[in-house]
Symmetry: D2
Subunit: 409 residues, 4 copies
Amino acid sequence: MSTFGTLFRVTTYGESHCASVGAIIDGCPPGLELSPADIQVQLTRRRPGQSNLTTPRNEKDLVQLQSGLEHGVTLGTPIGLLVKNEDQRPHDYTETDLYPRPSHADYTYLEKYGVKASSGGGRSSARETIGRVAAGAIAEKYLKLVYGIEIVAFVSSVGKVHLPSSHAPPSLVPSDDNEDNDDVHDALSPEFRTLLSTITREEVDKYMTRCPHPETSEKMTKRIIRAKEAQDSIGGTVTCVIRNVPSGLGEPVFDKFEATLAHAMLSIPATKAFEIGSGFKGTEVPGSKHNDPFVRREDGRLGTTTNWSGGVQGGITNGEDIYFRIGFKSPATISQPQDTAQYNGTPGSLAAKGRHDPCVVPRAVPIVEAMAAIVVMDQLLIQNSRKSAASLLPPITTLPPTMILPKSN
Amino acid sequence: MSTFGTLFRVTTYGESHCASVGAIIDGCPPGLELSPADIQVQLTRRRPGQSNLTTPRNEKDLVQLQSGLEHGVTLGTPIGLLVKNEDQRPHDYTETDLYPRPSHADYTYLEKYGVKASSGGGRSSARETIGRVAAGAIAEKYLKLVYGIEIVAFVSSVGKVHLPSSHAPPSLVPSDDNEDNDDVHDALSPEFRTLLSTITREEVDKYMTRCPHPETSEKMTKRIIRAKEAQDSIGGTVTCVIRNVPSGLGEPVFDKFEATLAHAMLSIPATKAFEIGSGFKGTEVPGSKHNDPFVRREDGRLGTTTNWSGGVQGGITNGEDIYFRIGFKSPATISQPQDTAQYNGTPGSLAAKGRHDPCVVPRAVPIVEAMAAIVVMDQLLIQNSRKSAASLLPPITTLPPTMILPKSN
Amino acid sequence: MSTFGTLFRVTTYGESHCASVGAIIDGCPPGLELSPADIQVQLTRRRPGQSNLTTPRNEKDLVQLQSGLEHGVTLGTPIGLLVKNEDQRPHDYTETDLYPRPSHADYTYLEKYGVKASSGGGRSSARETIGRVAAGAIAEKYLKLVYGIEIVAFVSSVGKVHLPSSHAPPSLVPSDDNEDNDDVHDALSPEFRTLLSTITREEVDKYMTRCPHPETSEKMTKRIIRAKEAQDSIGGTVTCVIRNVPSGLGEPVFDKFEATLAHAMLSIPATKAFEIGSGFKGTEVPGSKHNDPFVRREDGRLGTTTNWSGGVQGGITNGEDIYFRIGFKSPATISQPQDTAQYNGTPGSLAAKGRHDPCVVPRAVPIVEAMAAIVVMDQLLIQNSRKSAASLLPPITTLPPTMILPKSN
Amino acid sequence: MSTFGTLFRVTTYGESHCASVGAIIDGCPPGLELSPADIQVQLTRRRPGQSNLTTPRNEKDLVQLQSGLEHGVTLGTPIGLLVKNEDQRPHDYTETDLYPRPSHADYTYLEKYGVKASSGGGRSSARETIGRVAAGAIAEKYLKLVYGIEIVAFVSSVGKVHLPSSHAPPSLVPSDDNEDNDDVHDALSPEFRTLLSTITREEVDKYMTRCPHPETSEKMTKRIIRAKEAQDSIGGTVTCVIRNVPSGLGEPVFDKFEATLAHAMLSIPATKAFEIGSGFKGTEVPGSKHNDPFVRREDGRLGTTTNWSGGVQGGITNGEDIYFRIGFKSPATISQPQDTAQYNGTPGSLAAKGRHDPCVVPRAVPIVEAMAAIVVMDQLLIQNSRKSAASLLPPITTLPPTMILPKSN
């Protein structure tokens, strides 16, 4: 349904042509200094009309905080917020009243609810994600302030245009045809490791495509323009890194960190795939080369020399960088004619009018960051509760020392 | 935590060396005829010791139903069940008391809980999945009986040994280096479509690898044997198809069908990746070729000619086959020595003793099927509630007919 | 937290001096014709300033629907709604900045959150209930339209002024001092039974006190005026009846109908007590006189001749009228001086300025009705899912007929 | 359904004639030393056959821990436990196959599920509470060890036999007929205050009735014997006190402390009423006399001189003793003949055979304590999470000091 999270709980409402879209964020820690600007910055990164790579629908998407704060400080009570839909015109009659757009949500929403919004896909509208982005910005403010957690997403492919293999985990294994060749690239490549540990939003935003690699970004731009000019669309992938997450987050067995993260990511419109760490390609690597050896870090704690695990082992964070990749399909709404059928089954050709994004991945970047922040925040609050409860217990007397974490840790 | 689902709710307990593992299944429809054999068949497919490709740990894993049935009929009350751990010996002292196994859950469990099971990874043990498999078998019994729903998973790769590209969605796009070549294989290939629509568990089980393609299975067997002999391990992927699912399942915006499915799948031990339909590779295909055109089916309802969407659009099932793929990493526990560090940071070499699976994907097949069944069952119960509630309302008078689903549907 | 319900899910936000208060209602059945007027009528019954028995704070409390409807029909997606706070003046400095009001939420909110709203009690403000009342009105619209369910609450006592014993379940047992006297009034009294089965909101609203008994209402009015003039306050009770609820609602073992109902009622500000059916007084009656004998009703189904159970047996509705009573304490905020201590412990005297209700029960009536509607709606959706799922199963062959409900039922 | 709690989560299974009853307790803090004896003591207090006041059904009810511990220390993973049903005989044919017992769950279970257990009421059996009692004992162990929290319940009335008014909150207000007399007994009476602050389980268990007042207990015994001899039954009330609960527990607005507590209590079989603090009777007292004035306590923190609030204000605990009262109706199953109707509507007379409790309140005492412990534990874990999260934030700079809790608190 439209609520996500256990202790940090986000509930959203709104579709594209109603009065407003918004959210209620429940469980935000009290005493956090928070301004509308903290939220607006991510809404602005998400909003349409930012470049000629996105939809010309142009909305300012100004957030209006309704509750949960006084004097710019959170009270611990629910934060209500909304963004007006500037474009509330009743949806004009178009061919999409007769035709469900292929691969869009028009048909399935009608099947599910028996009625549909005049705009077709109802809550599958990208405007639904505004509430998520606002909620994520609030979580991020806390995570950064208290833990120094940094969440940065960027575009890693558009169509067939990928970051060079040196920068991408899916290319860890040589693509030869020798199934008995166990050679593995130095995992992760130094370039990719550097990218993960240093990339910033400022750097990402230097590129209209949000791909922080000049040559690749240029090719991506061309690829998107080509789709746009052909009244077509194209998909892509977004990679995201979360730095400085404490170890111990994730709730086995069903709410493992990556399970909850995948849930969050695949709830974003147009997503079809998720992988963490070495992902699909890593399944080709033998354990002896895929395992991340432990090593004592400078602070005395254990770290790993490699990080194929993507910061999560056994469903629980281990303190290393968490990185993952999400696949976004080509947008379903395209203006070129498509042979398909009407709701009543009559065959015909549909050419969807309107303003569409030829490629969603650049605008998906802040949405991915938001959902990542919400997941980390919620898992952190749950684990903090356990840790705090356990810390009050007297020392354990009956367990062998090898079964106990030294208190200094 | 250890509960999954809203109306069909599964809660599990147990680790590898305790008295038993088990589950409580709450919300099963009353009046379902159910025997222990219905459950045992999948537990037996999951249990260790089935072939020389799996761990020699040999347990019969006989289910003991505790409650929720009389005369072999479900009462609608919680079904308690358990499987005894035959091997409850206190864990022997081994090197893993000093060393966290690289990429295993030993370290993160200790970080999370401050204590750890003597066996190391606690609930990350594969035995934890017994409760899931039992719960899934109950869901399946209902789904098959009432809707004719069929769920079949099979192994689609081991290491670099993949099903031929004709049989696999990740190979939909030619792997040339021409980023401007929009050519696409006929999606999905006829071979893969046939495989999806006809594959049965009986066919899958003819192969020790559970890969229903003789040549590929033979290569996979060799690959697993090679890992075993090298005291190493290897990963792989499992593909699963769900047939005959009604349209309308999935709860936007956060509990979209694929989001919940991904959550379920990535909660299975050793999983690192999930994709539905055309998945990552599909992101390379332009919308004009990726969209699934609608067509009137023989029963008068709409279907799609292609099915790149994998049976889900806008987070809601559309009635087509649902297919998805999960990546399992190489098992972390290997017997060959690994350079790593002890819990206290001291560098050293660890050679894990014991009985390990060199490759988990053959035994993962029934676990994937079980989690799929649980997700479908829960989403079905939720959507049935909505449909039933809406069907009792008087006809809508104020909406344009194009916004309403004809009652005959 | 601020979300209630499983399938019909209400999330609220807002406190007394922020921009607005509101709610998101998720899970409303699609296809329901719903107008702002359907909601406004109950908000208006709840709003302050209705008579000289309530607070002079006068707000129109006009609801603004944000989403989830088109052309006055619900889409099945979340309904966002809000009511502006007309009085958003920053809270003036008063003595309550120094003093926590005795028995108010000032102190506990500060203890809980570490910060507090300038108004003191934060979300304990009565304005918080606006979102509940709106959500309840939506649920009621459905329940009435489809099931003919009627929910009517009324004031049954103010201070020591009670409805005559003939009208009230707490007086079922004679108040003599003979502990061995098992005599019981004819349960329920004909007058009370008639009241339960016929009372309407129109009738209730004829009385400023919302007590539909002229003599008692007059005494209550005097009692409230007396409290007001003494700058004091007084408590009371509200009785509520729900008619025409289908049998089978309630989810054992933890979410029994009355457990969920009690949860809902005791979440209303100022409540301290809840009883269903014969309640506390009924515990004094032996089983032989307290049990409700079954009888065949005109429609061929079973009913009960008495209804001490209050429509619920074993945590599940039995089709009879559901009636229950809630105790509201005297409002904590009074203007007469009170000897107490400041936040820092300094003793002193507090006389709270401002506009207060001397008695909350008249305005509590629509809030009680709203929470009752939300509970019934949610339980109905859950039970409908089960019933619909079970109805699709083939006939049971292995159970003795006495264990099966005939299909005709 | 059969799961209760958010972070400390209890799921139960089992009815009276199945193989076993049991529970899974998820979210127990790791590192707690826990033995079967810690649990057994409360199970033994709950079990039948303890005296001639209870059912002669005699079961030892020995708990078998299945998981979640090693060397007597909790691992933080789910604790599975079960108690065998010694009496698993298939239910003999009796008249109750034809007749639903009046006011029992037989009829409503059949209406709800369409099938029923041969024993009739299915999960409404008192054996269902075994899992709750076990779970509560685990929570209690933690609460006592870390916070010194003490939970003691006792019987406060049987039929018309009540603790003397000096010992009971319902008698706070003189029962005169003068509605304008605002006189109030010294609230709470010194005797009752002393009882609340000193009563122990050892003291309670000195009395077969579990009413710790010799004269009253003797009368209660006679009352129960009289019911037993008449093949009848009688109800009663249980009062419970929770001492040393930290301030700040309870989650407004829907999960206020008393709302969750009422939910828990009214989920216990046979309960019909709940009140906290001064309860129903307190509604008759004007605010000026009902408000609890603040005073600086010896430890420098604020306390209240009276405690009509029962330890909860605004839905949040204030650090004072929490006390509440629950009404249990007379057991529905009685052996004397009752005029009623068969399932098919045929009128007739039912005399239920078998072993029944003539009065449930003595055995209800440990069940009430268990549910109280579960509620406190869950709310504590949630509040600890918030407190821990807020404590890590930098000092607030923009709020007036009167809005902030000094850190020393």
